[in-house]
Symmetry: D2
């Protein structure tokens, strides 16, 4: 792949070819707000050392949802340390779905990893601060350093999740019962719902991917997060970033990635690229159908797999 | 068994012989208040057509806890009807523990039966009323008609459960998520915690047992609850009344019974007796050690088994 | 219910009224032989102190299947004692299906009860004898004493189960692995498949029911099995005799019963009747649709429920 | 890392420093033969472009055990194709232990991945041949092409597994029941037990690792297996190669690896090294304690992590 390779042509072609796959998916239904998205939208963005390339709906805002788990994990690792984090959350993939509660009861009594909802809620509880605002400031602050712009949340999604997030509430109270959640349950949930509601677009995600691909250095060249925290987050993205579709994604695409149920996928090609897709129609495991389809093709053409 | 049989001698002997078994048990630890009980207490009461016989600590007050599930089930059946109740709760025993959440996710998406916590919370949500007070009034009201005395709750146990009942809260929010709980979650939990905190003594439980043994008729001879509701409740007491120790209890004692983690056991000998025991030291399934021991002996001597 | 009550008219009416429900069920498919049955067959038999009453297809032979679990449990209890039996099998009902293997791994490492396949296979392994023939002789021998006729098996069903019984083989080897099965696995399975293939008709089952209703005394008035073994078996029939439909059956019918996937149901009305139904079309839990329907009606009319 | 780096000094130091960790582990107990190993043995080998470096007990023979799953997966992929393999086995990691049967019942009715026992048995059933000998010939043949020497099995381990492998037998019959295993169950198990009993030493494993690191090319420079099959196998080694300790291993070491309960670990550093360790004392997840300890240090010094 030399510097003259035309990324723009590639992205345009891939978008054109794969857009149709969106029809095979379903909009997320677990919060009412998400059902309002246009299921036919599709976008792909690639951040390279030569700058950003993009095609399709890359400027449309959507909420981070589960992709935020990567950001809050970085914050918790940096502010609380590796040991404190792994005291509350495991590091094993799971064959269960992202919002499963079963293993909390039958297994080792802590969430299997920080990429499932229970684990992410436990991680949120570790983020320090005197108030939800202060704690959320650490998460938003990290994103602001990466993206060099102010961070906002989608208020209606936030309220919708807060009102209807019964399953996450169940997970949080179960964690509290097994001593797996620090502090006040409702406050931790508030923080979790806020981070899920952060607004980004596809181009933003490609920039975040590049930040991870360069082991924690932002576009201005400043080290924002330690290389070790980035390595840990990237590892989790490989083993559990795509819910219980992570194994198949590792085989088909082969890069650290994290999806969110609003349709975004954040991808990292270590040392080379940040890559991202957007498409709100999901497969039954909760991953963007058109997103996976485009990433699979990109991986073939650009030989992205780390395996 | 003729009228001259000396029940008093029998109860005195059984108490004397079995009191020592209390040492094998543990006080319930899941709410702090319950740990204050004296683990050596033991009492047994038998309500017969010749009146009440009792031995030991039968006047000591304790909280109903799970025994209240029988009362609220009767209320829900009477006020909402059989069909409405079984739309929200199943009728199958389970090999899982009383506060398990696993089957809610893996099974038919409603609690397996009304005697496990999840099922009892679902039943509570069906009790009608404009406020928690009004709804609780129906439960307390039924007990007042049976016992012919005012009902009170233990305020400190109630507050303790309300503050620390994280597992029950997890079950309730999970139910809400799967459309298994009517109304406001916190209000339903409030009602559930209140009914668990109702104060009774061992003699009261024997009277409640006799009320069930006579298919819903109180001591004054008035029909309080329909025979069908009583039959349903009695059936659940056999198949699931002693948590995941119900099968063994059916074999060893063989009567409809319901235990509570404050140490009470309510027993029904259809057409013949109400029987009850008290002893706060529990086995690992949550049943009173001394209680089961005494009931087993009583069943042998008086041939109580319905099988 | 006086001696002049016309049982024959009752059975004829019930059969006529309920026969149509057979259409709602499905033939068992797990062994090819069973799919050859006529799904429209239906029969009901009632053994009383005045003799046997029957209506419909009560002379049609079918295989005992899971109903044999009651017989081999009696044999094991009589020949090995209560303690030896409960060392290998538990006494708790389960919310899982009859051939589930999950709880063997997640639970207390012995089958939850003797009425699920895993438990019945463990019980078979306890039946003494130098050979499968000798061991089977004890099971067949008990039935011969009850029915006063020679016992035969359906050879083609037996061979079919032996060849295709992969799930039961999996259960048996799992048991062997956790030290839950005595002796040679294939020999125990052979015994299990033989007892499942024993031929009976509906009238036979009613006689077996009466034998249990009289606590182990056959028609000639001889005590064949101890009253305690019969009481234990009857208890298991209530809590787990109808697979994971036992709870609902207890509520709707309320008698000790055991069903088999060839369509038979064996019922016991303690001290009063043996009752049986036949109808090979099953509901999704594996119980005869027309059988349950007829028993439910019989229970209403004759007030059979023990609760 | 330049050509003058002294690998030998590094391996000697690491062995010396980490040997003591063997004390924290336990010998595998599930087959009697494995308990005869010396728990204090330890070896490490590194295959580089400059040749093989080794320290400790690298010439001691042990059985491949689960490491053989990688070899038979390559054979199945090459001879049957990707689609046929994934028709019988999934690609998702699991939080359950290597010999768990639970997910076969509760999940999608095929083994979650080819690195757990159930999945590896399913893969074995796909290896073509008229007899077990012929099928085993394909597995042994691949190893002979990689190692350029004849392959032998440990007869006593093979017989021991065959006699006592009840859990694997349970898994295989369960697979047969759900249509997840081609052909005769006992023949497939025979093949599985044979591949587990193949004798290798630590140096062999490092050579196999290098073969995978070079995407399927042996030391003589011949392509033996397609690069795609190697990529698939390497991916599974990352997500599920270390049983339910794979996630932690990915974080701590970060390379494709596969462990066996005889104490071997096969590691792949794509494009750079084959690496292997030996040490029969295992942690509770079934991985060599001293092996993981040495690999973790090696990864730090040589910067092996692919993340």
């Amino acid at each position: 792949m030399n510097a003259l390779f035309d990324y723009q042509v590639l992205l345009d072609e891939i978008l054109k070819e794969h857009r149709k796959h969106a029809e095979r998916g379903q909009l997320a239904s677990y919060i009412p707000e998400l059902k309002k998205a246009d299921p036919k939208m599709a976008g792909v963005a690639l951040m390279t050392t030569r700058g950003l390339f993009e095609a399709g709906d890359t400027a449309v805002n959507f909420t981070l949802q589960s992709i935020s788990k990567v950001i809050s994990l970085l914050v918790a690792l940096e502010h609380r340390g590796v040991e404190a984090v792994f005291a509350k959350v495991g590091s094993e993939p799971t064959g269960d779905s992202f919002n499963s509660i079963v293993k909390l009861e039958t297994s080792e009594q802590k969430p299997l990893n920080p990429m499932i909802n229970a684990g992410a809620i436990a991680v949120c509880s570790l983020i320090p601060g005197q108030s939800v605002e202060e704690r959320f400031g650490l998460i938003a602050g990290l994103l602001e350093k990466i993206l060099a712009r102010p961070i906002e949340i989608d208020e209606s999604v936030y309220r919708s999740e807060k009102e209807t997030g019964h399953r996450n509430r169940a997970l949080a109270y179960f964690l509290k019962d097994i001593n797996g959640l620090e502090g006040d349950v409702e406050e931790v949930l508030d923080l979790y719902f806020r981070q899920c509601s952060i607004l980004v677009n596809c181009a933003d995600l490609a920039r975040i991917g590049m930040f991870l691909a360069t082991k924690g250095i932002n576009e201005a060249g400043s080290p924002i997060v330690s290389a070790n925290a980035v390595r840990l987050a990237s590892t989790f993205m490989v083993t559990c970033g795509m819910y219980n579709g992570s194994g198949e994604f590792a085989i088909q695409v082969g890069i650290p990635a994290k999806s969110g149920i609003a349709g975004g996928i954040l991808g990292v090609v270590p040392g080379r690229y940040g890559v991202a897709t957007f498409g709100p129609a999901l497969d039954r495991k909760g991953n963007s159908v058109v997103g996976i389809s485009m990433l699979r093709r990109l991986s073939e053409v650009l030989d992205l797999s780390i395996f």
